[in-house]
Subunit: 199 residues, 2 copies
């Protein structure tokens, strides 16, 4: 195989490593980009290079941005005494899209896991404790995933914060808006039933 | 919104334009790349830039490579008098993966379509006719998709080649290997039945 196909194959191989893409969709994506070279492929390469060179984790909360401290941590009006704790940046973005939370975030960078030997020091938990004091936090909202590891982590953080006299809450569990009971797992139904409200 | 998030959003927007990716998977892909910056993001940006600068269509067959004439058209041992006609480069790659065809290819770049005003001149059909004479082709294998436009195009090309005294064949239609009858459409079953063979 000559150089020409090797370059293409190499590109396809790398594209296929992205989550959500396999070899077949990587091939389709590469052909699509070659067809839209000026409009898509060149700008995409530039943007990748630019973000690769500039993206970094916020030193305060772990969000991804291009400055040492991210926009949310810089904006004074988001210092309302609330911190929302999430597992990773994707969760932070999901919360931001909903546009309801007005406070700041703290990205743990994973969950506690005995199996993978991930303890509080491996996550951003000590930093969270510092922030609670330093930023005069009154409420910490735990928005961790409803997995076993996520809930273990939530429990651990709640225990640590309780000793510091901070209100700790977690997202409500229940039926998703627009969700059909028939498609929900038993755990969700039982959680929604336990937390039922008068209407 | 400040510059930092704008750069990320811009990258996500462009990734979301790739076939097979939507906004959600584009976000996941971008976060994944930022985590694997040195191993994936930077090499991918380089590779995209390199391919964008060098990829071009083979002047002879329309395959994509980095030279004026592609490897398959250059290799003398693939000049066996057979040309396989495909709609686009993805189909050529699919044929090559099977590794069975030993001749050369001709990429039409689409199908004839009255609705979209695509006639023979818009495709690479005149070039195919030149090649049939110039490369002493004895057989043209039409490997076009089994869609209406694909079959119309196959018909048209077969007619043109017939006048030039070239054998024209098409891929066999029938039950895919490993395919279950229950999941096949009626057209395939009826084609497979009509083309049944003694065993």
């Amino acid at each position: 195989m000559s150089n020409s196909t090797k370059d293409l194959d190499h590109l396809i191989e790398m594209m296929a490593k992205l989550p959500g893409l396999g070899p077949r969709s990587a091939r389709r994506a590469v052909l699509h980009m070659i067809k839209k070279r000026a409009l898509l492929m060149v700008p995409l390469a530039d943007s990748l290079q630019h973000v690769a060179a500039t993206a970094r984790e916020c030193l305060n909360c772990g969000n991804i941005g291009t400055s040492d401290v991210c926009d949310i941590c810089t904006t004074e009006k988001r210092a309302n005494g609330e911190i929302c704790v999430v597992e990773d940046v994707a969760d932070l973005w999901a919360m931001e899209r909903s546009g309801v939370f007005k406070g700041r975030y703290h990205v743990l960078g994973g969950t506690l896991s005995a199996l993978d030997a991930i303890g509080p020091e491996e996550l951003r938990i000590p930093k969270l404790m510092d922030r609670v004091v330093g930023e005069q936090i009154s409420e910490v909202i735990l928005a961790l995933n409803a997995t076993i590891d996520g809930q273990t982590t939530a429990h651990y953080i709640a225990g640590e914060l309780d000793r510091r006299g901070v209100t700790v809450t977690s997202l409500a569990q229940g039926v998703p808006i627009g969700g059909e009971l028939d498609y929900l797992d038993d755990g969700t139904i039982s959680a929604a039933l336990k937390a039922r409200k008068a209407i």
